[in-house]
């Protein structure tokens, strides 16, 4: 009688462990990323499936308040303007808890999108499910997906967050260009300093 019980608890324990590590792990290059249904700043619900004729998706976890996110705002706009016509739209997702980061509330997102005239969707991951599923830890944090939502690149936008003029390697653009040309993405994973995602307690 004892044995099945301990086996059960072992199984439960393993299940719990895989859940916990799963949360921190998220996607790796090659994984198929899940779609989502999140509210855009215009109050419509958006999914990747709604992006018509997309050949890929530039998912960027970002936010209003983080200085690194701010430093990249203009570059994110330029990315969308350059690549959306080619079939690779930017989809920005704010995963921050509004109680922990009041500047990242939905209303503040609307204000920011309005004042910067964001040409891309700026979605609110209010349950933080998507950031967790993807394994995002910081803002900005990029996931480049191909047409079938296979993750092709994870990481930084480029190699200099402080100064766009000093950028030497445009990691994300190189990855999109490779994807577009049907080539392998040479540098498919990079790291950058960023603000921690403000998780709900």
């Amino acid at each position: 009688m004892k044995k099945p019980l301990s086996l059960l608890s072992l199984a439960l324990g393993l299940f719990a462990m895989s859940f916990i590590t799963g949360v921190h792990d998220g996607y790796h290059v090659g994984d198929v990323a899940r779609d989502f249904k999140l509210m855009n700043v215009d109050k419509s619900m958006k999914s990747m499936a709604d992006a018509k004729d997309a050949k890929g998706y530039i998912i960027i976890f970002t936010c209003n308040h983080c200085p690194f996110a701010k430093a990249y705002e203009d570059r994110i706009i330029q990315l969308h303007e350059k690549y959306a016509p080619q079939g690779y739209p930017v989809i920005a997702i704010n995963p921050n808890d509004k109680d922990k980061a009041p500047d990242d509330s939905f209303e503040k997102m609307q204000e920011r999108a309005e004042s910067k005239k964001f040409p891309f969707w700026y979605l609110y991951d209010d349950k933080q499910e998507i950031a967790k599923a993807y394994g995002a830890t910081r803002t900005p944090h990029v996931y480049l997906l191909d047409e079938k939502r296979v993750v092709r690149y994870i990481g930084a936008i480029d190699d200099n967050s402080e100064d766009a003029d000093m950028v030497e390697e445009k990691y994300l653009e190189n990855a999109i260009d490779a994807l577009h040309e049907g080539k392998d993405v040479e540098v498919s994973f990079t790291k950058a300093i960023g603000c921690t995602i403000k998780w709900k307690s």
């Binding site: 980061a101 190699d159 921690t196």
Partner: protein, 160 residues
């Protein structure tokens, strides 16, 4: 006259306490040096920025740890990651106003992708992050999280 001298004396004494530490610039090789250190000193190295809320909140815990363990060969190092153009306008005043006693250094590297893995392959790059290095015990602990004092002390005691 004596009174005036006294006032002058206390005035200079007072200002000498206000002179803040000089913040040196480091590059990624310094990270490698700390990690390969064989010295008896245990390094508690915290990566932070003035604009990072959770970082600023946990600074007192690191300051307290430095104070409590100063005579036990523990050195707290606060590695600042603000933008370089804000070094004069933000970092220096911040360190002065808070009168930080732990050693503050500035991470003078433009491409974090070249040094984040040197700190730890486990680190995603989100701030704050902390490594505790014991050269003598050949042990390194890494944390991508913020600390309360008790927890930080516990982490230190694991390698001390």
């Amino acid at each position: 006259m004596k009174q005036l001298l006294q006032i002058l004396f206390f005035f200079t004494l007072g200002t000498s306490f206000l002179v803040a530490q000089e913040i040196t610039f480091i590059d990624r090789e310094q990270i490698t040096r700390w990690k390969n250190s064989e010295s008896d000193t245990v390094f508690v190295i915290n990566f932070w920025a003035t604009w990072c809320g959770p970082c600023v909140k946990e600074l007192p815990a690191f300051e307290k740890l430095q104070e409590e363990y100063a005579d036990k060969q523990v050195q707290v190092i606060l590695v600042n990651n603000d933008f370089k153009k804000q070094f004069e306008s933000r970092v220096i005043p911040f360190v002065q106003e808070r009168n930080l006693k732990s050693r503050v250094v500035f991470m003078n590297e433009s491409n974090p992708n070249k040094w984040i893995d040197l700190v730890s392959e486990e680190w995603s790059g989100a701030l704050p992050a902390t490594i505790i290095i014991s050269g003598k015990k050949k042990q390194t602990l890494f944390f991508e999280k913020s600390f309360e004092y008790e927890e930080l002390e516990k982490a230190l005691l694991r390698v001390l």
